[in-house]
Amino acid sequence: MADEYAWPEVVEEVAVQDALDPQQQTLDEYVAVSTGADPEDLAYLMVMGLLEALADGGSCILALSDRVTNHMVNGVGFFIRGRNYRIIFHDPWGPGQSFLQLGKNMAGVAAEPYQGGGFSVSHHELTRVLDSFIGLAKPDKADDGKDTEN
C-alpha cells in the first residue's frame, strides 16, 4: 500500500499539451473573475500581467491613481532586487520628477531614480496605485513602414 502511490520512476506522458492552448487560460481571465476573490490577489495578478507583458519585450502605458490624482506613465522593463520586481518607467510629470516619488502621491509609494534614466518602483508598491495598463507590442519588422513591394 505504501508504494501504491509512489512517485513514478520515469517521466509519464500526460495531457500537458492541452494546457498549452493559449486560448485556454490567460491572466486577464483570472483577473476578470472576481467572484469572492481576495482583492489583494487581483491587484497582485494585474501587476503580474504587466510584468508578463514587459517580459515579452513590449512597453506598456500604466494608468495610475492614488484615489486623488490620476496619472499615466510609460513602463519599459523590470529587474529583480531581493524579493521585488522593480518596474522601470518614464514619467512625464516633470523634468527629473515622478508622481510615484515619495511625497508626490497619497499612496505612500516611493519610486527611485533609475540609473539608465526614468524611475523604478517595486511591484508591491505598484499594486497600491495601478488601475490598469495597456500593452504596446514591439513594432513588427514586416510592418515598419517601408514599402516592401517590388
Binding site: E12, V16, A19, D41, L45
Partner: protein, 188 residues
C-alpha cells in the same frame, strides 16, 4: 540533503525561506495571523485573507535520480507526471477529480513555468460553475475543492495546495490564491 525552512514576517506578509538540494527559494506563506506546522515531510500554513482563513500546503520532494538530471526542456513533463500522481492519489483516497478546464501553464516573470490546476469531489453537481461546491455551512471547515500550483526547482519539486476555510471562499478565489502564491515565489 536536509531541508530547512524559516519564516520571516515582513511588510509583504509571512515569507518562508527554503533551502534544500537546489536553489534556495522563498514564497508568501501567509498574509496575516499565520500558524504553521510540519506534517511528515510537508508543511501546512493557515492564515487570514479578505475572504476568510485559508490553508496552504507546501509539498517539497526531491525528484528521483532518473528524473532530476533531465534538463529544463522536460519541466512540463515532470510537472505533468506529478499532476497525474497527485490526482490518482486524490481519486483513490478522497474521491476527487481534476476540475474540468482548470489545468493551465503559466510563466513567472523570469520565464520559469508552473502548472496550475484545481481538484474537487467527483460528484460535484456542476464542476465548471463558479462557486459550485462551496462550503455554505458558515463553519471553518475546509472547502471541498483545492487549487494547486507546481513548479520544478532543479532536483526538487515545489507544489502549493490551497484550501479555503469557511464559506467565504469560491472556487475561483482558491484558484487565484494558488496562482498568487506561485507568483510570489522567488528563486535565488
Amino acid at each position: 540533503m536536509e531541508k530547512t525552512l524559516r519564516i520571516n514576517e515582513t511588510s509583504e506578509g509571512f515569507i518562508a525561506y527554503c533551502q534544500g538540494s537546489s536553489s534556495p527559494f522563498s514564497f508568501l506563506a501567509g498574509q496575516r495571523e499565520l500558524s504553521a506546522q510540519k506534517v511528515h515531510d510537508n508543511y501546512l500554513f493557515a492564515s487570514q485573507a479578505s475572504p476568510g482563513r485559508y490553508m496552504l500546503q507546501l509539498v517539497w520532494p526531491d525528484l528521483h535520480a532518473g528524473i532530476s538530471d533531465l534538463d529544463g526542456s522536460h519541466d512540463l513533463e515532470i510537472l505533468g507526471g506529478y499532476l497525474h500522481y497527485e490526482m490518482e492519489y486524490q481519486k483513490q483516497a478522497l474521491g476527487n477529480q481534476l476540475t474540468p478546464d482548470s489545468l493551465g501553464v503559466r510563466k513567472l516573470p523570469t520565464g520559469r513555468q508552473f502548472l496550475i490546476w484545481c481538484s474537487e469531489p467527483a460528484d460535484s453537481p456542476s464542476p465548471a460553475g463558479p462557486g459550485d461546491g462551496e462550503d455554505t455551512s458558515g463553519s471553518r471547515t475546509a472547502t471541498p475543492y483545492s487549487g494547486f500550483a507546481s513548479m520544478r526547482n532543479g532536483r526538487e519539486l515545489v507544489v502549493f495546495g490551497i484550501q479555503g476555510l469557511g464559506s467565504g471562499w469560491t472556487r475561483d478565489a482558491v484558484r487565484i490564491k494558488a496562482i498568487r502564491i506561485a507568483f510570489s515565489t522567488f528563486f535565488d
